[in-house]
Symmetry: C2
Subunit: 279 residues, 2 copies
């Protein structure tokens, strides 16, 4: 997906929020906004929002000197999600279709996304997503793909959401490689966040080698790209991965909540939709 | 109120929406956004959002050559509001306190504001505002001020909202001067919009002489400033007038809905609040 002009105000808001998270004072916030506006004035609309976001959050980290502005927020998200873990497992245990319920849970966790600037409560979101009809539903294709694969590459999204991913991974029979960001960006999960959520107990945690939000392949390490190229089934969480990853790669299954009108238009669904989509 | 950094993304969104309203193509939209970002990079945080908005919407009009991008939207807003007029009058007729109900109606109409980018339906807003507790309630001070004045200056806000203002004006005993913008800006009411809403039947319609959103006094005509200086009681509608007009002028009564968190923080109330506040 390309960067639309509607993404510009959103990027500017994200930059300001990230600057505040990094405890920048007002003068520093202003300098950051001005630099981000300079970036936006030059950015190619052919770059994806994930690439643009990469540069935006890099500016904030560089100018504040704060390596991980969202550290505390991410830790709190993981803590809150872990409190829900027994209940999430119970839901899957009691399900007629454990894969569907676990996929819904993983999608519910995708609400923990600080990019679109929406308010949420975890419990209410979980209730909603467990019962909401899918706007795009390729569950049966995913089920079939899973029945024929030896292993699964799972592209993580945000800290805290990791716990919801863990529940889905626990229902999968094959070994899972869980790919997190190579460094802090927005509230995306890093290795540290994945470990705090217990992902090492259920998957092999690897790094994309990049600190872009979403999996921007050209920014990723060679080692990760090799993993990616060899994968048979790829579960890609969240908006940024949908924005970043090419269309038409049938190995890819996107699991996400649509939290912005631009991506909604791109997919052809309304904001608030839940999506399980084969690329 | 000064322009906060949180206003920057909002201004950028407004510029894009106004450019779309003016049927600008994507290339033109981009040029407009870049020029607005150049403006924002330079703008003094001591200027009010109304002043900044003035420059933003001027850029859109100049670069598209469309004098009144919101013309059709404004006409539609006035038509919808006029359909409600009989019901609005009935509410006041049946009220124990006609002034309070008419003030609530005028405040309900303030939802027709295309600056903050919120969705609304007129009927649901009316129901809500008729019953919602005031977050700031200086109704009794207004009542007293009205009992002692010979005339009232009424600063209009948006097209369509004008119809709701008309209902309040019909309950006032004194002659009312109704001040509209000197030219199109956002969906603010101009003389043309006020006439379409029937305001000439109940008030003397004058122009501020300025096409800034909100009443930015230094941009207004000398004739209007004289009217303003001589006024005994001033009813000022909407966020932009609250942002633009100085604090502590006890002649001023602000009637508005709080539709953005920045103004909410400034007044000390939550977004969604209804406010009847003496300055």
């Amino acid at each position: 997906m390309k960067t639309y002009l509607e993404c510009f105000p959103c990027m500017l808001r994200q930059a300001l929020e990230a600057a505040c998270m990094a405890d920048a004072d007002v003068r520093q916030q202003r300098t950051i906004l001005n630099r981000v506006m300079g970036l936006l004035a030059e950015v190619s609309v052919d770059s994806t929002p994930a690439e643009t976001g990469y540069h935006v959050h890099r500016i904030v980290r560089e100018m504040t000197g704060v390596r991980d502005p969202y550290r505390l927020v991410k830790e709190e998200a993981t803590r809150s999600a872990l409190q829900l873990l027994p209940r999430l497992r119970e839901i899957v245990d009691q399900a007629n279709d454990p894969l569907e319920q676990a996929a819904r849970i993983a999608i519910a966790g995708n609400i923990i996304d600080l990019a679109p600037g929406i308010q949420f409560t975890l419990e209410a979101t979980l209730e909603r997503v467990l019962h909401q009809p899918f706007a795009v539903n390729d569950l049966e294709t995913l089920r079939q793909a899973l029945s024929q694969t030896e292993s699964i590459l799972y592209l993580a999204d945000n800290a805290g959401e990791t716990v919801f991913d863990r529940v889905l991974i626990e229902t999968l029979e094959q070994p899972v490689i869980y790919a997190v960001k190579g460094g802090p960006t927005l509230n995306d999960a890093t290795r540290e966040d994945a470990i705090a959520a217990g992902l090492e107990e259920v998957a092999e945690v690897v790094s994309t080698g990049s600190d872009a939000p979403g999996t921007v392949l050209e920014f990723c390490s060679l080692a990760f790209r090799q993993l990616y190229d060899e994968a048979e089934v790829i579960i890609a969480k969240g908006q940024a991965n949908h924005e970043a990853l090419g269309e038409g790669d049938r190995r890819l299954f996107f699991l996400l909540q649509v939290k912005c009108p631009v991506l909604g238009r791109e997919i052809g669904v309304k904001p608030g939709s839940i999506v399980l989509q084969q690329s």
